[in-house]
Amino acid sequence: MWKKVSLKQHKSSGNTSSSDDLLTKNLIENVGQIKEDLGDCSDLNVRMIKHKENPFAFAVIHIDGISNTPKIDEHVIEPLLTNKFDPASRTIKDELQQVIAVTNIKEKNTFKDILSAIVSGGTVILIDNDPSALILSTREIESRSIVEPTTQTVIRGPKDSFTENLRTNTSLVRSRIQSPNLRLDSMIIGEVTQTQVEIMYIKDIADESIVKEVKNRLQKIKIDGIIESAYIEGFIQDEMQTPFPTVQNTERPDAVVGNLLEGRVAIFMTGTPYVLIVPVTFTQLFQSPEDYYQNQYIGSVLRILRLGAFFLALYAPAVYVAMITHHQALVPTVLLVSIAAQREAIPFPAIVEAFIMEITFEVLREAGIRMPRAVGSALSIVGALILGQAAVDAGFVSAAMVIIVSVTAIASFALPNYNLGIAARSLRFLLLIVASYAGLYGVLAASLIIGMHMCSLRSFGVPYLSPIAPFKLKEQKDVLFRFALPNLINRPTPANKKNRVRIGNRNEGE
């Protein structure tokens, strides 16, 4: 049932040391080897501890900046310095474990493990005459504080968003779902970056096969490094050749919580505030968490509005061009006379005019993103108003076309999912070409083809267009209209088949 994604096996960039080498008993040798492997970086801290009264020599190695230096000083180095150890003790490591006040202590003896521990912020304690070392997890990174989300804002609702710190992110979700069934599985992806990636799901609500498939696909990823969750997205998608997003991303914790409760799986990653949610269906892309925070009527109206905006963004230029070039009979007479009057002096055919306007608008939009804030406002006024107005007055484009293009562009931003807006914008051009060629018939044929393409998409085995096609009556309560919260008793398709009814929402004794 799953589409097998065959990924090319990348050659991992070379490791410096012979990875499976064991430590020797000689402390100085070990330390020297480690320094050599790590290239003696300026942020590498090596503290040799040779106690006067103790025969033991220790070396505490950590990298500054990614480890919690004050904690290491206080909880590791100080006990090592002040404690007296029995020189004849065989179980020095156990004694150390009783003295060092750090939560996580592991014992390892290969260079590979030690090096990877050091570069991920841990501290390594090497002991003379002992071929294994203690690894402490002391990782701490400077990260942004929790602020308002920048791209997915709501009017009413929580205003915290994820940051680049993995643990902070998972904690934001954990604090909202205080259930022992919330599971978090971790894995490392990326040969060079060794990025930590975690999967979160609720045990009996999420479908087991989907969770397994997610883990499967993540483990298959062989790449140098992943920088943003989009890289993961690119690898685990069912179908590569589609403009439609089959993986959802969000920077809001409440969106993640809502999706987890519906049986989906969330993928967290260090280094980016965007969390991935799989599987996703088309109807879900029109939902914003705000729908649930307002009452049901407003929520339904807004959702229908967004659907309308999607179709507007997709079809408006194509239908306009088709109507005035092929189907003049469809336009009401007065409107037709007015548009004809406007187009009298325009030198370009309608399709060329449409393209010019569309491309100009896309360029303006790109420029607006990268514009430094100081100049940004000037650009928006100049670009939108004056440029459009001047173009109309100069006789390059007709006023009707300016209106259509601006309406289209604004509509494509009304969608809660940014990727969907981009998909609509790209497909719009295709439809425009087909419209100028074959009128509304061509638009219909192209829409059928796009529709069939969407019908054949699957997101982790869930058909992309469910619950519309295949039609599932029970799930219709949350698709177009949003019924009142007490009535949303069924979980949608991705949820475990045995657990379809939301427990808390059933009305007792009704």
Partner: protein, 366 residues
């Protein structure tokens, strides 16, 4: 072909759209004038009976399409030959329907385009549908069902709101007696109700066997009633005379709609929506031909067949008749009697009889 399973609702939507297909456009039982609705009622009833024959054959051979159980019932060589006849028949009808829609578009909307251009656009969609597989096709027909139902509701609403319906056009009843009804009955039965023969090839894809009867009968009755309603509306709006003269009665009726001088000239919108119905019909026929060919010739690289079959259908649709009137005459006078009745009615009944007899004689063979 991988055994993809489709659920009952998807099957229903395909049958519904398929039956509406070109019948809603071209009009039914034109000879019977204002009594055509009586003929249609008989057509629905007989269509259900035919469908029951097909489902009985299906229940006897649940996982096999028509071409396979033809061989089982009639023996390998004869059955194979008949299978080939059916495949050719399906392709011929596919190109007939394609021609219908090409003509519709050229006459009513795109007067300067050629048949070939419009046909290519349609065939690209159809070939893409077959390429993607039957599951995708059934899903998109679910979507199309919603769109078409909305459209039909709107047409009915507008027709009523614009006050153009004159019920006296439906009288007098039986003005010309029973003869025109009887003479138009065979065409009404075979087109579109008899075309359910294609579903004998598609029934094996249904996921629950017992649903076949319910879903099919429901779809036939509903689509038949829809056709009935639209035929009645056409006659009520334009009068029996114009309705029997016009090439596309529903378009003529819709062109009368004029609400507040704003909602008018809706015929192009109707045409475009009818294209969806044409798409469903052509894809169903071509699909059956496709499955049949794969079954008969045991082909492995199935996707390679799509292009040749599509091109054959396209080209034959253009060369099959010199103009629209010849095309219609062929469809009304020759095709029903020489093609539809034997293939849709006579042969299936024979098959059923032989299969039942065989079962009685050899109860071990299920």
């Amino acid at each position: 072909m991988e055994q993809v399973k489709v659920n009952g609702f998807q099957f229903f939507s395909v049958i519904f759209l398929f039956e509406l297909g070109s019948a809603i456009l071209v009009g039914m039982a034109g000879e019977a004038r204002q009594d055509s609705w009586i003929t249609i009622l008989f057509g629905i009833a007989s269509g259900c009976v035919l469908y029951l024959i097909f489902t009985k054959l299906y229940t006897m051979y649940p996982a096999l399409p028509l071409t396979s159980y033809l061989q089982k019932i009639l023996g390998r060589y004869l059955g194979w030959l008949f299978g080939l006849m059916y495949v050719t028949y399906f392709m011929y009808i596919a190109s007939r329907v394609l021609r219908d829609f090409e003509e519709l578009l050229v006459i009513a909307a795109y007067r300067s385009e050629t048949l070939l251009t419009l046909g290519i656009i349609m065939m690209v969609c159809v070939m893409y549908a077959i390429f993607k597989g039957i599951e995708v096709f059934f899903r998109i027909s679910e979507l199309c069902l919603f769109i078409i139902v909305f459209m039909l509701l709107f047409i009915i609403l507008f027709e009523m709101a614009s006050g153009i319906i004159k019920l006296q056009h439906l009288r007098p009843i039986l003005e010309h007696g029973w003869r025109p009804l009887v003479s138009s009955y065979p065409t009404t039965l075979t087109f579109p109700f008899g075309e359910m023969i294609t579903f004998t090839m598609l029934l094996p894809f249904l996921n629950k066997q017992e649903k076949a009867k319910k879903v099919g009968i429901l779809a036939i009755v509903l689509s038949g009633l829809c056709l009935l309603l639209f035929t009645l509306l056409n006659i009520a709006i334009t009068g029996a005379d114009i309705a029997s003269r016009s090439a596309f009665p529903i378009l003529t009726a819709v062109s009368y709609i004029n609400i507040a001088e704003f909602v008018q000239r809706l015929d192009t919108v109707v045409i475009i929506s009818m294209v969806i119905l044409g798409f469903v019909k052509i894809t169903v026929f071509l699909f059956c031909a496709f499955i049949g060919t794969i079954d008969l010739f045991k082909i492995k690289h199935q996707k390679n067949l799509i292009y040749p079959m599509g091109i054959i259908v396209l080209v034959s649709s253009v060369i099959m008749a010199p103009n629209y009137i010849a095309h219609i005459n062929e469809g009304l006078k020759i095709v029903p009697y020489y093609l539809h009745i034997p293939m849709q009615i006579v042969i299936p009944i024979l098959l059923l009889v032989i299969a039942l007899i065989k079962r009685k004689l050899k109860p071990a063979y299920a």
